[in-house]
Symmetry: D2
Subunit: 366 residues, 4 copies
C-alpha cells in the first residue's frame, strides 16, 4: 500500500509535527484501524520535551478509537467497518510474562524466547504505540496482535465516551484495584489530574466509603467530588498528612493512591497509611525515591507498596466500556477541549502548558 496518511511525529526535543507517512501494510496478525478520535497523554508531553526518548520520526500517541479498515488473514471474529478501541498497552498475551500474569510487561517481541533462557520480560514493553511502534495520532494505526487487542465499541457509545478507556481510565482503575480496597475502606488519593480522577472513580466502584481526594487546584477537587470523593483537601491550604490523620481519628487510611510521580506525594501517601495499609503507586517517577524509615515503621508495619502499568487487551477494554455503558461512571467532564489532527501542534501547546482548565483533549483526524 503506497497511499499516504497524516501523522504527528517526534522530530526532535521540542518538536512534534504533522508529516506524511505511508499507510502501513497489514500482516497476518495485524489490523489496520482508521482513527476517528485520539488524545494526548502526559507521557506524550515528556516525549515532546525530550524527557522520554523515542526514535526520531516515530508517530506518537497511544489511545486509539476508530474503525477497522483492514484485518490480517489470521484475525477472526471481526468485520471491517466495525468501531473499535484498543488499549494503550497492546500485549501479545502469548508470551511468558503474559501467561505469568503480567501482560503489560510483555517484551516477547523484543527478546526471543527459546534455548537462550531468555523469557521476554522487559519492563513496560507491553506499551508499543508511540513508544516502540508508530502510534495513534495519525489517520491510521496498525494494531499488532489484533486478535487480542481489538475491542468492539458497544452501540450507543460515542468516541468521546470511550476515549479514556485505552489509558487514563484503565490506569486509574488499576490504581484502585491494586489498593486492595474492601467495603468500608478509607482511601486517600494524591493528585487529581485525569489519572487521579479515574482512581477516585475506581475507589468508589470498589466500595471505599470515605474517599479523600487531594490536589492543589480547586476546580479539579470539584470534579473529584463528582467522581466520588467524600472529602477534598487542597494542599495549599492545609498540612495534608496531619489533616488525614485527624479525619481518621489517628488511625490512618486503609490505602493511599499516588497519582503524580513526585517524592512529596509518594512520601505523603506512606505517612497517612495505617499499619497494614497499601500504597498503590501510579506515578511515573523521574528520580530516585526515598522511603523515610519512620513512616515505614522500620520495615515492620505490614505495609505494601504496589506499582502498576496500565492494563490493556480487549477484555479489559470490554469491561471499561461496560462501566461507561452502565452509567456508573461518567468521564464526560474530563474531555475539556477538541482539536482537529491538523491542529495538533496547538493542542500540544495548550495541554503541555495546562492552559484554560484543560484536563483532556479530543483529537479528530477528519
Amino acid at each position: 500500500m503506497s497511499a499516504l496518511m497524516k501523522a504527528a511525529v517526534f522530530v526532535e526535543p521540542g518538536r512534534i509535527e504533522l508529516a506524511d507517512k505511508p499507510i502501513p501494510d497489514v500482516g497476518p496478525n495485524d489490523a489496520l484501524v482508521r482513527i476517528t478520535t485520539t488524545t494526548i497523554c502526559g507521557t506524550d508531553v515528556h516525549i515532546l520535551k525530550g524527557e522520554y526518548p523515542v526514535a526520531k520520526g516515530l508517530t506518537v500517541g497511544h489511545e486509539p478509537v476508530g474503525v477497522i479498515e483492514k484485518l490480517g488473514s489470521a484475525v477472526i471474529g471481526y468485520e471491517e467497518g466495525q468501531r473499535v478501541v484498543a488499549g494503550a498497552i497492546c500485549p501479545s498475551f502469548t508470551s511468558y510474562p503474559s501467561q505469568d500474569g503480567f501482560p503489560s510487561q510483555d517484551g516477547a517481541y523484543l527478546i526471543p524466547s527459546g534455548r537462550c533462557g531468555c523469557h521476554g520480560y522487559k519492563a513496560t514493553a507491553g506499551w508499543r504505540f508511540g513508544n516502540l511502534i508508530d502510534g495513534t495520532q495519525a489517520e491510521y494505526v496498525l494494531v499488532p496482535d489484533a486478535q487480542a487487542n481489538l475491542a468492539p465499541i458497544p452501540d450507543g457509545l460515542t468516541d468521546e465516551q470511550v476515549l479514556m478507556c485505552p489509558d487514563i481510565m484503565s490506569t486509574g482503575f488499576k490504581g484502585a484495584e491494586n489498593a486492595g480496597i474492601k467495603i468500608g475502606d478509607t482511601v486517600a488519593i494524591f493528585a487529581q489530574g485525569p489519572i487521579g480522577l479515574c482512581a477516585t472513580a475506581g475507589a468508589k466502584l470498589r466500595g471505599a466509603t470515605t474517599i479523600i481526594a487531594i490536589d492543589g487546584n480547586d476546580h479539579r477537587l470539584e470534579i473529584a467530588r463528582q467522581m466520588g470523593a467524600d472529602v477534598t483537601l487542597n494542599f495549599k491550604n492545609c498540612d495534608v498528612v496531619e489533616e488525614v490523620m485527624k479525619l481518621t481519628g489517628g488511625r490512618g487510611v486503609d490505602a493511599s493512591i499516588e497519582a503524580l510521580g513526585l517524592q512529596s506525594t509518594f512520601e505523603s501517601s506512606l505517612r497517612v497509611l495505617k499499619p497494614g495499609g497499601t500504597l498503590s503507586s501510579l506515578g511515573v517517577y523521574s528520580e530516585d525515591l526515598t522511603i523515610p524509615v519512620d513512616a515505614f515503621a522500620a520495615g515492620l508495619g505490614d505495609h505494601r507498596i504496589v506499582t502498576a502499568l496500565c492494563p490493556g487487551g480487549k477484555e479489559r477494554m470490554r469491561r471499561l466500556m461496560n462501566v461507561i455503558e452502565s452509567g456508573r461512571v461518567d468521564l464526560g467532564p474530563l474531555v475539556t477541549h477538541h482539536f482537529a489532527l491538523d491542529d495538533i501542534v496547538e493542542a500540544y501547546d495548550l495541554f503541555a502548558n495546562q492552559r484554560d482548565g484543560v484536563l483532556k483533549v479530543a483529537i479528530k483526524p477528519a
Copy 2:
C-alpha cells in the same frame, strides 16, 4: 505436504486403531512437532469406550513430547530441531476467557467474538488435541497457537521425565493449588491414581505438613508415601471419614482433593472438611452429584468447592519442567510400561484394564 504418517484414530466405540493420515500443513501460527514420546490418559479410555464422543477418524491423545519439525511463518524465538512439550490444553491466550483468567475455557476458535456479543467461552474448549483437532498418538502433531504453547525441554531431561507435564502433573498440581494450602495444613487426597499421586506431590510442594492419602490399592498407597503422604488409608480396611476425623482430633482437614470423579469420593471429601475448608475437585463426573445438607452445614459452613481443568501454555510447562529439574519431585515411578506406537492397541488394552500394576505407559512412534 502430501507425505503420510501413522496415527491412532478413533474408529468407533471399542476401536482405536492405527491408520495412515497426511502430515498436516503448517499455517502462520502453527508448529508441526514430530512426536518422540506420548502417553495414554484415562480420558482416552472413555473415548475408546464411546463414553466421551469425538469425531470418527480423529487422531486421539493429548500429551506431546517431541521435536519441532516446522514452524509457522509468524512464530518466533524457536528453532526447528528443538525439543519441546506442549500442554494437553492449548489455549490461544488471546481470547476473552483467556484474558479474563480462564485460558482452559478458551473457546475463541469455536465461537467468533464480535458484534454478536458472544465472547468465546465454552467449558473445556481449551482442550483441543484428540478432542477437537487431531491429537498426539501419531508420528506428527500440529500445535495451534504455537507461540503460546511450545515449551523447550531443558537439556538433561529425558522424554520420560517430562511426559507427565502436559496433563497429569499439571492437573494434579492444580488440585493442590486450588486447595488454597497454607503452611502447616492438613490435606486429604481421595484416590491415588496418577492424578491423585501428582496432587499428593503438589500438596507437599505447597507446604501441607499432614498429608493423608486414600486409595483401595496398597501399591498405590506405597507410591503415595514416596510422593509426600504422611499417612495412608486403604478404604477397604477402615471407615475413611471416621479415621480422618480421628486423625485431626475432630477438627477436620483444611482441604481435601477429589481425584476420581465419583459421588462417594466427592461426598467423603466434603465430610472430612473443617468449617471454612476447601474441597478441590479434579474428577471428571459422569453423573449428577449430591451435596448432603448435613455435610454442607446447611450452606453455613464457609465451605468452598472448587473445580479445575488442567492448565496449559508454555509458562506452565516451563514451571513444571523446572520442578522436575530441581529434583523436588520425581515422577519416574509413574511410568510403568513402554510401547512402540505400532503396539498402541495392546497398550490401550493393558491400560484400560489396569493390568500388571500399570500407572502410565510411554508410547514411542519410532
Copy 3:
C-alpha cells in the same frame, strides 16, 4: 442482680411469647446492653415453627441495637451509656478457627482446646444470640466477648439506619464479597428478600456493572432497582436461565448469588454461570442439593461454589455503619413496619406470613 426484664422466649413449636426473666449478671469479659431496637429474622421464624431447634425458654433474636448498661471488669475503651450494635454472630476472635480466618465458625467455648487435640471448630457456632445463649428480643442482652463485639454507633445515625448491620447487611454483602466481583462484572442475584436486596447493593459497591436481580415479586424487584440492579427478571414471567444467557450473549454471568436456600435457585445459579464463574451461596438449605453434571461441565468448568455465614465483630460493624454514614447505600426502604416489644407476637404473625408487603420489622422495648 435480681431485677427482671421482659423477653421473647421460645416456649414450644408454634409459640414464642413474652416472659419475665432475670437481668443477667456481667462477667469480666461481658457487657450488658439495654436494647433500644431489634428485629425479627427469617431464622427466627424457623425457630418459631420448630424447624430449627433451640432450648425451651431461650430468649430469641440476634440483632442488637442499644445502649451499654454495664461493662465487665476486663472490657476497656467503652463507656456506660454509649450507643452500640453487635453482630448477630459474636465470635471470641481468640480461638483457633478465628485465628485461622473463620471467626463465624468459632466454637471455642463449646469444645475446649488443649491436649485432646480438639481445636474448637464447629460449623455456625459463632452464632450465639438466640441460638446458644439468650438473644436480643428482650429489654437487655448480655454480649459475650464484649471487647471484640461492641461497636459504637456514629453520632447522627438512627437505630433504624443501623438495624440491618448485625445480620442482613453483613450477610448480603458477604455474598457479594465471596462472589469475587471485579470491575465490569455481570452478576445475577437469585431472590430479592432482605438478604438478596443487600447482596444486590453489595454487588454494586464492589463494581459489578450489569446486575441482574431475580424474584417473583414485582415490588421487591422495584426495590432491587433502588439497590443497584440494572435488569430485573420476574421468574413468573420468563425462563430465567434462558433470559440471563440471552442478556449475556451466551457467555453467562461472572458470578451468581443464591439468596434463598432452594434447589431451584441453587441450580439456576449454576446454570447461568460462565466457565470460570463463582456461585456465591447465602441460602440456608433444608434438603440435600443436587449438582447437575451438565451445568457443572462434568467438574471441568473451573467453577467455584462458595458458602458463607454472616461475619460479625466490631470491625465489620464499624465498616457497615460507615457505608450507611457515607450515603452509598440506603437500607431505609427495608424497614417497613414498627412494633413495641409488647406486641412481638403480632409482629411474628405479620412477618412469618409475609403480609402487607413486609420486608423487615423494627421492634422497640420501650
Copy 4:
C-alpha cells in the same frame, strides 16, 4: 504473690543484667508460664546497645517455651503443668486491627478505642514481651490474652525443637508467604542469618524450585543448602545482581526476600526482580531507604514491596510446630550454643559479637 524470680533486665545502654523481681500476679485473661527454655534475638542486642529504647528495669526477651504455672480465671481449655509456647508477638486478636487482618499491629491496649474515633492501630504494638511488658529471659513470664496465645507443645517435641517457633521461624516463613511464591518460582534470599535461613526453608515449603541464597559467610551458605537452597552465592566472591541475572537468563527472579535490613540488600533485592516480581522485606531498617528509579522501572514495573512483622497467636504456633513434627524442616542446626540463665551476660557477649559460629543460643533458667 510476693515470691521472687530471676530476670534479665535492661539497666542502661550496654548493660543487661540478672536481677530479682517479684513473680507477677495473674489477672483473669493472663497465664503465668514457668520458662524452661528461651533465646536471645538480634533485637535484644539492639536493646542492649541502647539502639532500640525500652524502659529501664524491663525484663528483656520474647521467645517463651515453658510450662503453665497458673491460669487466669477466664482462660479455659488448658491445664496447669501443660507445656506451651507463645509467639514473640502476643496480639489480643479482639481489637480493630486484629479483626482487620493485622494482629501484629494490634495496639488495642495502648490506645483505647471508642468515641474518640481511635482504633488502636500502632505499628509493631503487637510485640509486647521485652518491649512493652516484662519478657521471657526470666524464670517466669506473664502471658497476656492467654486464651489467644498459649499453644500446647505436641508430645515428643523437645524445647530446642520448638524454640524457633515464637519468632525466627514465624518471621522467616512470613517472608516466604509474603513473597507470593508459586510452584516453579525462582527466589533469591539476601542474608542467611537465622531469619534468612528460615526464609529459605519457607520458600522451599511454598514450592519455589530455584532458590538462590546469598550471604558473605560460607558456613551459613552451607546451612542454607540444608534448608533448601539450590544455589548459593557469596557476595564477597561475585557481583550478586549480575550473577542472579545470569542464572535466570536475564529474566530476574519471581521474588526476592530481604532478611538483613540494609540499603545494599534492599537495593539488590529490587535489582534482581523481574517486572511483576515481589520484594518481600523482613529486615529492620535503621535508616531511610532509597529506591533507585531505574531498578523501579520508574514506577511502571508492576513491582510489589511487602513488609511484615512476625505473626503470633496459638494457631500460628500450632502450624509451625506441626511443620517441625512432620519432619519437613529441621531447625536443629540453628541452635549452636546452650547457656544457663545465670550465665546470660556471657551469652549476650557471645551472641552480640557473633563469635564461635553462633547462630542461636538456648537459655535455660534451671
